[in-house]
Symmetry: C2
Subunit: 277 residues, 2 copies
């Protein structure tokens, strides 16, 4: 528990990054993505993805994002098409590469690069009040990016303690033997509680949206966790890495964030489109 | 050769569909996609994708497309996120499914559903003069969708005959032993010729764009062909299917189209954005 507490401190800089928002957050997300990709590649051993494709795909995505005034749908489609073509090109070295490697490369592109990019999208579109200090703009405390973290980590923590306290019915023993139904429900309630409190104090006008995000985020957060468990179990590893003592790798830490980030973005985008954010 | 000629007739209805455009083309593309997905699934044998994920992903994509007035970037991102979550959900049956199956499912989503959808995108945005007959609107002969077919099949045919006539330097014997450098160059020239003629007669204002598409289309068309060869070689099959006698399966016929369709769409979108279509 002491190691875990120490490791939690390592995550503290992330809070500062969410507060700062903008380019700081982009830099932070890129850094996290790079570390996650490295762990992802290492974990696959022999069947490891083509690294150069992943790095190029990452560069294209963020370069597209910074072209101003362009239809983002076109850029986004272009990025996925270009990444896919690169994946295939990497397979042209037929003697060297397996079909599985082509597929793990595509998985790296969509699972890590695409999903983590939604943190940037949320900050960009729903990044809060933009506190201006000199030439800098900060996202501040009313940025919706906080919900990504609150839903993910709130679910994690509440599920853990609820499961410990009253857990008795196994949730899905074949994937994750320790998880219980009670823990899962506690996790969702915890996510709703934290997201609701956040909405109440920082975005009163969007309280209903925050609560909806709390419910759905609590669910997909656990799906994200279980999805990672399935992959790790199939690869035959316990953790993706060992970057954070007591917590496994970076990717182990953000597996639920990879699912809550898109969820937050699409709930906000749909709410905005249907007129009641 | 006689079987091939007969089979070419089977492809004729596709010409009518391109001419009609609109909902007819959507229906045609969906049908092609469904057949291609079926062949794709069958080809993988034991490691076959989760079919229900592919069907659901296809439905979500086309449903999103028909929501009017919505930011297509959001819908598109949502579709990819939802498809990815479904892929992972299909893996939750850990005893039943392999990691490879999760990855072939994702490959099916991006390689077949995503790429073939660009035919609809081209028709939707650059579908020609919209001939109105009663309640119907037809895309006609000046639809840019024709370029998708001209680049793909033009390259194919010209590469084949140039290679036969003067081919001597092997292009990439480890992937496709019969292909020659001369054939590849002839293919690109053929694509430029056909796309150029098409532009000259039907879209004079966009002749330069048509020629650019001819050049790039001639290249990516062959990359599409080689990418499919790599996959088939790795899986250990010669053809994806046997739907069209003498031509293999539907997927064998459209493997270059899967690459030229996005190319045509992004070249047109970029040209439009930079102001000189």
């Amino acid at each position: 528990m002491k190691t875990r507490a120490k490791s939690a401190l390592i995550m503290a800089p992330l809070l500062v990054i969410v507060f700062l928002g903008g380019y700081f957050l982009v830099a932070g997300v890129v850094l996290l993505t790079v570390f996650a990709l490295r762990e992802f590649c290492t974990a696959f051993g022999e069947k490891k993805p083509a690294r150069w494709v992943l790095w190029t795909s990452l560069c294209i995505l963020y370069a597209c994002f910074f072209i101003p005034g362009f239809d983002s749908f076109v850029l986004f489609g272009f990025w996925l098409f270009a990444s896919l073509v690169l994946c295939f090109l990497s397979m042209f070295a037929v003697e060297k590469r397996d079909l599985a490697q082509g597929m793990t490369t595509i998985l790296g592109v969509v699972y890590i690069i695409f999903l983590s990019f939604h943190i940037v999208l949320v900050d960009n579109a729903y990044g809060g009040s933009d506190i201006v200090v000199g030439v800098f703009r900060f996202s501040g405390l009313d940025s919706y990016v906080w919900l990504i973290a609150l839903a993910a980590f709130g679910t994690d923590i509440f599920a853990y303690f609820t499961g410990k306290a009253i857990g008795s019915h196994k949730l899905c023993p074949s994937i994750s033997p320790k998880k219980t139904v009670e823990g899962a429900i506690g996790g969702v309630l915890g996510s709703v509680l934290l997201c609701g409190l956040f909405g109440y104090f920082f975005i009163p006008g969007g309280l209903a949206t925050c609560i909806i995000i709390g419910v759905l985020g609590g669910i997909v957060s656990q799906l994200g966790d279980l999805s990672a468990s399935v992959m790790k179990r199939k690869i035959g590893i316990k953790d993706w890495g060992a970057a954070i003592p007591g917590h496994g790798g970076i990717l182990d830490r953000i597996d639920s964030v990879l699912f809550t980030a898109p969820l937050v973005f699409y709930v906000l985008a749909f709410t905005e489109a249907f007129g009641s954010l």
